[in-house]
């Protein structure tokens, strides 16, 4: 067992003008996840603590928060991974805070929708499946792993500065279709991202790549999209 101090960002829109922090001391296992600590607080200390969680296994993307100053999934981060007894949990930056760790994800999803994150191919359906070579599938494998947690976009100083920036997550999901050999709308998506609030807001700061719980090479994906726009070539 390990003694830790858990400091939680608190904001209740009904009573608070300003946010504050609540501190809890507890004994935990080094292999406990940050999400477990928050469940403990919610279950035994203060039932009003609000945060999003669903799968608790790092696949749904609900529990992304700022843990010790860095975006992570609370359900994937063990106490021992943090290497300290002081754990601070705060909501992600750059989105309005609705309550405690819960932020308004709407702007995030609007950007996601704007890049046409769906398969487009108006050619008549083939008799069987649309075939794709192993190499062609490999081309966009990395960006298929996104779970839409928002850790990348809300770690990006360009997004903090301007909400209109489409953000890394949307570009990752555009990349997933742009480089899919079966899809036919790459040109349209490149056009959407060829905008002052598109890929050019990326200043290669790399916070997104570091934050991504799926280890997606986000800045590389953005770089590939930038290059495709500049050269008009998908290779």
């Amino acid at each position: 067992m390990k003694k830790i101090t858990l400091k939680l960002f608190r904001y209740n829109p009904e009573t608070d003008k300003k946010p504050h922090y609540d501190t809890f001391k507890m004994e935990v296992e080094p292999t406990d996840r940050v999400l477990d600590l928050m469940e403990k607080v919610k279950g035994y200390e203060d039932g009003t603590l609000s945060f999003r969680r669903s799968c608790a296994h790092g696949v749904c993307g609900s529990c992304s928060m700022r843990i010790n100053g860095e975006n992570m999934l609370a359900c994937k981060t063990l106490v021992q991974d943090l290497g300290t007894n002081k754990i601070t949990v705060e909501p992600m930056l750059g989105l309005t805070v609705l309550k405690d760790m819960i932020v308004d994800m709407k702007p995030f999803f609007i950007h996601y929708e704007s890049v046409m994150p769906f398969f487009v191919n108006d050619e008549p359906d083939p008799a069987q499946e649309r075939l794709q070579s192993i190499e062609d599938r490999e081309r966009f494998d990395d960006t298929t792993k996104c779970i839409m947690c928002g850790a990348c976009t809300t770690s990006c100083p360009s997004f903090w500065a301007n909400e209109e920036y489409v953000g890394p997550a949307a570009i990752v999901n555009a990349h997933r279709f742009i480089f899919d050999s079966r899809d036919k709308a790459a040109a349209e998506r490149l056009q959407i991202l060829n905008d002052q609030f598109g890929v050019y807001r990326c200043r290669t700061i790399f916070n997104c790549t570091v934050a991504c719980p799926r280890d997606i090479q986000i800045t590389k994906a953005i770089g590939e999209v930038k290059k495709a726009i500049a050269t008009g070539n998908l290779d």
Binding site: P13, G69, T96, S155, W160, F206
Partner: protein
């Protein structure tokens, strides 16, 4: 009511972004500093030439000070090497996977160049 999305400079700086985030911040600051250096240099030249002004001479004295020169070289060389890293990564996105190594390489390039500056400037300043 909800809390405004605005991220203050202080909150932003507290985010643990690591090497590339600081490189980006320093790139911005050094870029801005260079605008002032060049601007100040032009103004000083103009004032001294046209009016033989004391202010121009005062600015030039600051520019010739060795501590100022060390700071100036630091910012200019940092800006150049960092800019080069970003340009190279932009041209060959495949290299973006090696961004950590790129930061190391950047300092490995910076140190000998700046070391040379240190030797030359300090020799001049201290050796007379």
């Amino acid at each position: 009511m909800a809390l405004n999305r605005k991220v203050s400079l202080f909150t932003g700086l507290k985010y643990k972004g690591g090497g590339p985030m600081w490189a980006w911040i320093m790139h911005r600051l050094s870029g801005l500093a260079m605008v002032f250096f060049v601007g100040g240099h032009i103004i000083a030249g103009f004032l001294t030439q046209q009016f033989g002004s004391e202010v121009g001479i005062a600015i030039n004295t600051i520019y010739e000070n060795w501590i100022f020169q060390l700071a100036l070289f630091f910012l200019v060389i940092f800006h150049a090497v960092n800019g080069l890293r970003v340009v190279i990564l932009d041209l060959w996105p495949a290299l973006l996977e090696y961004q950590r190594e790129a930061i190391w390489l950047q300092w490995l390039t910076f140190i000998p160049i700046y070391g040379l500056v240190l030797v030359v400037v300090l020799k001049d300043a201290l050796g007379g």
